[in-house]
């Protein structure tokens, strides 16, 4: 090469200058998390882990309800290599392995996904101060800027302070009543939506009718037998439950019972994956008509005198005129209602068949079979009670079960099975300790999720709408407050601290977007850009439980036999922080004393929880500490700033941490079994139920009074079929001829994991439609269809199937809504896009009572796995 020297000289000087300038020019906030590389000493360059890496117990963070399947993560050099599930325990007849399902096993795809929230972000056109400057109309469509934590926390605190001072604490909406809400309590309270949510009407019915406290015996676990006892049943009737999707680890308990000889009958609008796996018979029924069918089952039993009259006479009140509860003699009894004495309508199988779509012959056969097969287990899921006026279903279900006398005996039970106690009832064999953080009661809305502490309707000191009315109330400025009727409300801020994804998961999603656009300020905390995050002004990124030393999701006893302690798997990604840190920082900036709000660290919370955890002793009655703590252990923990005292316990605490799981061993004749209501059935005089009458209440005046007092619907004291709003009857008359059900779907646990690419590919958010209904609309399998009603319109691919009752369509709940601003179409298929505001009963959300129409669409729609976060083709090398 022979180039001109002068030329080079000039070019080099210029380039050096350019290089210097490009390197030096100011950087406000680094968008890439770190500025660049630096030289390291060779000694630092060694990997600290062994070649193979280390297996660390990790939590399965979803709320599917299965009860903490084993989840372990291989970590090498601070990086997650892969996951595995249970290989700690032998897979035995009595103790099946705690194997994770596809959701737990694909968690790495979520935690490390490209759509993690990385930095605090601010919506570009939002400014504090309210009114015009908030540009609320741009929520969900605006652009974003990255800001620092200090900026984000200062903005959040100052704006909440302004609203609190200007309008009062009841102008702050705290999403819905999940999570501890300590922050909201500490700042003086906030409005939170309440309701029975997942549990359906069961939460408010089981207690007055059976005396079983719903939540202290977790989610109805007191009403059914334990899993080994199910193996003694000759017949198991499963009404509206699909554990294969909604409590995957527990589905095996039913399979084991089947292998032990039980016949399984499933009543469901859908021939679910569970039904495919274990049902001998699928009774296909229309949604929200179960009560009619149950009344006809009762009718057939009465007509043929098949009911267990001794049981009804001895253990129940309200079946007939001779056994009415004290003080209610002469009022309507169940038998006369069924026979048509009061309304001249005998609730015959033919009568019911018209409504529920089940052949009269099938109804009769079921009545005969359950009345004559002993022992029989009669088990309901939550879904049929997640309906308009779902209380009536619960009443009818329990009553028909009791008519067979299958209570309090081996292999016999009548109750509700779902979530972690699915087919495994009884008290917790491991009781979780408390984290020790001080409580900050919410002065504005002291009532929490579910009817465990729902507002006593007649009380006048509570505020806050039921979930159905929450978004409507933000827009309209009023809500229903029980016997007080309509009350004013003026929400100016919506906060999503530690409260899940309520915009997506509460009814009336499109109204929810309107509500989010109407207020001065929205702040959201999350791991991912869920629907609630999309419509926020300030986003605070949360570290995942895999990145925390331990957390609510990390340590939890939900399954009665298992304890699971998830450890930190990796360092927190990007600038994320945990809930306690975020809430403490906001609280401090709002004038709360940080030391009293968070007197100790997240690590100490975890330690407290573990050392406070008790495990049942061999006698099945008394409990001892699970964790043994020595002085040496305390020295180890002191390195993390954790303090404690030595204690005796079953397992050394460090061993417990390393294993991550402790399981109570079960065997055939151990003392850990459970037969619901056995004490009562064995000796009703000595062990009366905690109901008004001391017996099972087929006629339950307390339930009637309580329910009616909420102000939406009147509930008779005995089970009756009342035509629900948005039910089958409306589908026959109006513009929306199809009934929509919204099952818990395998792709997700509620809205968790909707962004997981593996799950998006394996389980597209499909619209299931019966083949006849599809054919009538010219719809073929895989076609793009629009499903709509007056509340919204979703775009989906149709899955044409014979596994669904004619006239019914189904979509899994929980997909993260994506509303197209031009057309208003929800292209993701969130079921709440189609759900209106129809509160009923004791604040029961009617997610399985809805009517829609479906039409073939000429729009195009990509497969779910090709959109956000998208899957790309493999690189061609």
């Amino acid at each position: 090469m022979n180039k001109n020297h002068e030329h080079y000289q000039g070019a080099l000087v210029s380039r050096r200058r350019f290089l210097r300038a490009t390197t030096a020019a100011g950087v406000a906030v680094a968008a890439c998390g770190v500025t660049g590389l630096h030289d390291i000493a060779v000694a630092d360059g060694k990997s600290t882990d062994s070649e193979e890496g280390t297996w660390i117990p990790a939590s399965c963070t979803c709320v599917c309800g299965s009860g903490r399947c084993v989840n372990k993560v291989l970590v090498k050099d601070g990086t997650i290599i892969r996951q595995k599930t249970d290989e700690m325990f032998e897979d035995t007849e009595w103790a099946p392995q705690l194997r994770g399902c596809i959701r737990g096993r694909s968690q790495r795809k979520s935690v490390l996904g490209v759509d993690r929230l990385r930095y605090p972000m601010k919506r570009k056109n939002w400014q504090p101060g309210g009114g015009e400057s908030s540009h609320g109309e741009l929520r969900g469509v605006d652009e974003w800027e990255r800001i620092t934590w200090d900026e984000a926390l200062d903005l959040t605190a100052s704006e909440l302070n302004r609203i609190r001072e200007q309008y009062g604490n009841d102008a702050i909406c705290g999403g819905w009543a999940f999570g501890p809400a300590r922050l909201l309590g500490a700042i003086g309270g906030a409005v939170r939506a309440w309701g029975s949510v997942s549990l359906g009407a069961w939460a408010g019915v089981l207690d007055p009718m059976t005396g079983t406290p719903y939540m202290t015996m977790y989610n109805g676990a007191g009403s059914i037998n334990d899993r080994l006892n199910f193996r003694k049943a000759k017949l198991i009737v499963i009404w509206g439950a699909n554990p294969a999707w909604s409590a995957a680890a527990n589905a095996i308990h039913v399979l084991k019972a089947k292998q032990a000889g039980a016949k399984i009958i499933v009543v469901d609008p859908m021939c679910s994956d569970s039904a495919i796996a274990y049902a001998d018979q699928w009774i296909s029924i229309r949604p929200s008509t179960d009560t009619a069918m149950l009344l006809a089952v009762a009718y057939h039993m009465i007509e043929n005198n098949l009911q267990d009259q001794d049981f009804l006479d001895s253990y129940c009140v309200g079946f007939d005129s001779d056994h009415m509860p004290e003080g209610h003699e002469g009022e309507e009894n169940f038998k006369d209602y069924v026979l048509g004495t009061y309304d001249n309508t005998p609730k015959t199988p033919d009568w019911a068949s018209e409504i529920c779509g089940v052949d009269a012959a099938v109804i009769k056969a079921l009545a005969e079979e359950i009345a004559t097969t002993k022992p029989m287990s009669f088990v309901s899921g939550y879904a049929p009670a997640r309906t308009y006026g779902g209380e009536q279903y619960c009443q009818a279900f329990l009553t028909v079960g009791w008519m067979t006398g299958n209570v309090g005996k081996a292999g016999a039970c009548v109750g509700v099975s779902s979530n972690t106690n699915a087919f495994n009832g009884g008290p917790m064999l491991i009781q979780q300790g408390a984290d020790g953080l001080p409580a900050f009661p919410n002065a504005v809305q002291p009532y929490a999720y579910a009817v465990k502490t729902a507002p006593p309707a007649e009380d006048t000191n509570w505020h806050g709408p039921v979930a159905d009315e929450m978004w409507e109330s933000v827009v309209s400025g009023k809500y229903t407050a029980g016997t007080r009727g309509e009350q004013p409300i003026k929400i100016k801020a919506i906060t999503h601290f530690n409260t899940g994804n309520p915009l997506n998961q509460m009814p009336n999603l499109n109204k929810g977007i309107e509500a989010h656009r109407a207020v001065d300020f929205v702040v959201a905390v999350d791991y991912f850009p869920s629907t609630s995050v999309r419509y926020a002004d300030i986003i605070l990124p949360l570290s995942h439980p895999w990145e925390q030393w331990g957390s609510f999701a990390g340590i939890n006893v939900l399954n009665r036999e298992n304890f699971s302690w998830g450890s930190r798997v990796i360092e927190p990604l990007y600038e994320t922080h945990d809930d306690l840190w975020i809430e403490t920082e906001v609280a401090r900036r709002m004038g709360v004393d940080a030391q009293s709000f968070a007197p100790f660290s997240s690590e100490q919370c975890v330690f407290n929880t573990v050392v406070g955890t008790k495990v049942v002793k061999e006698d099945g009655v008394t409990y001892e500490n699970l964790a043994q703590v020595t002085e040496d252990d305390l020295e180890e923990f002191a390195k993390l700033g954790i303090t404690g005292t030595p204690q005796d316990g079953r397992v050394p605490i460090l061993e417990l941490k390393q294993q991550g799981v402790y399981r109570v061993e079960r065997s055939e004749n151990d003392n850990f079994g459970y037969i619901a209501y056995k004490d009562f059935v064995d000796d009703p005089e000595a062990n009366p139920l905690n109901t008004e009458s001391g017996k099972f209440e087929i006629c339950c005046p307390a339930l009637s009074l309580k329910t009616t007092a909420y102000g939406w619907t009147e509930l008779p004291a005995i089970p009756k079929y009342q035509v629900p709003k948005r039910g089958y009857e409306e589908s026959k008359e109006g513009d929306y001829p199809l009934q929509l059900i919204t099952p818990h779907y395998m792709r997700r646990a509620h809205s968790i994991y909707d962004n997981n690419p593996w799950l998006r590919e394996a389980f597209p958010q499909e619209l299931f439609i019966n083949a006849d209904d599809a054919a009538a609309r010219g719809i073929e399998d895989g076609d793009v269809v629009e499903c709509f009603n007056e509340f919204g319109r979703v775009l989906r691919h149709a899955t044409v199937t014979q596994r669904l009752h004619p006239g019914v369509v189904a979509m899994g709940e929980g997909a993260w809504a994506r509303i197209d601003e031009e057309t208003g179409l929800d292209v993701a298929g969130a079921t709440n896009s189609l759900q209106g505001c129809f509160p009923s009963g004791q604040g029961t959300q009617c997610w399985n009572t809805n009517v829609v129409q479906v039409e073939k669409s000429n729009r195009s729609l990509d497969e779910d796995y090709l959109v956000e976060p998208r899957v790309i083709e493999e690189t061609k090398e």
């Binding site: 080079y8 000087v13 290089l19 020019a25 660049g36 990997s47 490390l112 850009p529």
Partner: protein
Amino acid sequence: MGDSELCLAMDSIAGEFGSGKPIESDDEFDFDWLSARACGYRLLQRLFFCELGQEFADVVASVDASKEILFEEAKASCGQACVGLQEAIAACVSNRDLLDKERSEFMRLFVGPLAPAAPPWESYFRDPDQVLFGEVTLSVREFYRACGLAHDGRLNEEADDHISLELDFMARRSQECLDLAERIKKAELECFSSNECNVSCLSNRMHTLMDEQIRFAAEHLAAWIGDFSELLKRESRSHLYRNLGALAAAYIRCDMAKMKRWKEDE
């Protein structure tokens, strides 16, 4: 090395150049290439590092970027994208709205809070499970480590395979190569005999660094920049980032060819 330190270091280097001593060009070093690529990688790195700032836009707008960053062999395939890029940046200098738009676009494409439209990580394109902080991140981290480098942040504060970090690797190494070539040349000119050992050391170091860059480009950067650029072309709503993607892909391709040729010539 922090920004300010780096700046100081470069001041001193620039000072050497500015001393007026003529610089010989011969078959050993192609200073056009060595100096252009140092500028080119740094420019690319800075543009992928964070959203465009006023000050940085001014810097880019005030020069002829093509002249500064394009070496002879890159002119044909990179020229158009480079001009397009500079025009897009220059347009922002006098138009605050446009600058704001580009800043938002940067967030939408590369940061979030919604899933980034063009995820700027090698992992996204090459990890078999498409996760960040997985095997690809680890192998990039190990590559840095073997070269005596690590990123400035806390572990997991950023994935090592973020484009800005991978470009920082190339920018750093290309600048070091330029410096080395310069020092070798200078040593040779001044007094070869008293510096013979020094020159051979410098020369060895130069070879090591060049080898590292060839391997890094082959194993990492060049293996995904094409796909990334394609995605950016599809997803970007701005000329700036479409051109930036196109420029990065073409530039790395040309530089890689050139590096290989240099290696073969040696």
